[in-house]
Symmetry: C2
């Protein structure tokens, strides 16, 4: 491909997304597939990458690929050891992991995730989004919240991630809404803002009651005809409220930036607003690519 | 069957268990099958009952069957409306539900579950175990805890269930240990008492942190080699600890009786003991039958 300088790869558990990058930062092309880490064995990574990029690298002697995410997990292509916070979110100088390849045109570098010793915590992928955010706002001092399957709260100061905390909120929502007894009374979609706020304030005032509050959704459906849409929104409010109650040391009195899917960020913003905390939202789409570019830049320097 | 007076049926979501009862309370025979409410459509209940009892009722004109549990749910054989607490745990006088039958020898009575208006809650089956317990200890004043998929705490006084509260503890344990990201680091069996106590005290001191404490199990497995057996016991401690934190108004300063499977009751007893609360355990095996007999007795009186 004319003008191709390097390839960026966001390689998570479920999906692989790649971008063909020009030297001046322009995106020449992009592609994606469902070949995430979770569905691949170790010898499946190189073919999955080539499937999307073979046409781009045709005729090239060597192309640098910078990848982030679960591709670097123990069960991934090659384990990229964690870097311990406090540290900058990405830093190729501390060494990117090089998986073995058959096609010698590929010079693949996998970025490490971050770890924290006390309390023990890990992230893989979110650090790259944080790097993308800091590339645009290098002086940011505050907290980044990345809601999702495993929501992350990260305290950022002086260009570094100082500390972070993961909550299983999104995974609990998925399990409870599709696998538990609550599924009988829960809509697959739809929203009820009053029900969300109800769950939120219930959880924020008595977060330890979460196990009972969850079953109440079932009981109210049986006894009081709680609608499946309201039950779904209330469940979301209960789980996000429990998260906010525990994450208070992160968000209280700090500047808050939400990074993630728009709908989910809107729920978190509403939840924080109800607590008197203002948050702005940055959609996550472009941040991973910006973070990979930041990692690529440090790679060049070394 | 010689001497058959009536048939008791414990009919839950997963199993059906029946007993052939003599007039003097002796058990003449018993049988069980996997034909619980969850696997049956409405017209499958009578055949499932006959499959186990046909030989017992051969040659009889009419036999009373008293059943409890999810058989009386909306998705069961026939909906047995809830009775509202405070009330005695069973009372046939307030009306048992009679499903339609093809085989006119069967006179089937389904006992109702209990409901509570504030906070909304329901039970089906546990009230029969409580009745069985009260048949042996009619003067009991204290709290019954029935740990399980949906753990129940019931305040009992003057022969009545005054109030109760359900926690989704067992279902959360099952979902998290087999379906979530935690499954990668969790043993299918085994126990570590220190890890259980660790999870317990962590949850009791900071119950609102449950969403973060759960992910810590994953992080400690990756970073510090937390063993799968320790992770399993810690998960149990975290979930039971969160339940105990919220159930404190029930157990604090009251006589506590645990009713359920021996291993699970032992965990709850250890957890309560660590909080300075003594509990005695009654295994649940015979209680349901005793409760069905109590329901049968009120049926006779009316």
């Amino acid at each position: 491909m004319d003008g191709l300088d390097w390839i960026a790869a966001d390689w998570g558990t479920s999906n692989l997304r790649v971008w063909a990058m020009a030297g001046d930062g322009r995106v020449l092309a992009s592609a994606e597939s469902g070949k995430g880490m979770g569905s691949l064995t170790r010898d499946g990574f190189e073919p999955a990458l080539l499937e999307l990029t073979a046409a781009w690298i045709e005729g090239r002697a060597r192309v640098t690929v910078v990848a982030c995410g679960m591709v670097g997990a123990r069960q991934g292509w090659a384990e990229a050891p964690y870097r311990a916070v406090p540290c900058t979110p990405v830093d190729a100088g501390s060494g990117l992991t090089r998986p073995e390849v058959t096609d010698r045109r590929l010079a693949v570098h996998i970025g490490p995730g971050l770890s924290q010793s006390r309390p023990p915590d890990v992230m893989r992928g979110e650090e790259t989004q944080a790097a993308g955010f800091l590339a645009a706002e290098p002086g940011f001092d505050g907290v980044l919240c990345l809601p999702g399957t495993h929501s992350k709260w990260a305290h950022v100061s002086a260009g570094e991630i100082v500390s972070f905390q993961t909550f299983m909120t999104g995974e609990l929502f998925a399990l409870l809404s599709s696998q538990s007894v609550l599924r009988h009374g829960l809509a697959a979609e739809g929203w009820d803002d009053a029900a969300f706020q109800h769950g939120l304030s219930e959880a924020l005032s008595r977060p330890e009651r979460i196990g009972a509050a969850l079953f109440s959704l079932r009981a109210e459906g049986l006894l009081k005809g709680l609608s499946p849409v309201a039950a779904r929104a209330r469940l979301s409010g209960l789980l996000i409220g429990t998260e906010l109650a525990a994450a208070k040391p992160y968000w209280l009195g700090r500047e808050i930036v939400l990074i993630g899917a728009e709908t989910l960020c809107r729920s978190y913003a509403a939840a924080l607003a109800a607590q008197g905390a203002a948050a702005r939202t940055v959609t996550s789409g472009a941040l991973t690519l910006a973070g990979l570019a930041a990692a690529r830049a440090t790679l060049k320097e070394n």
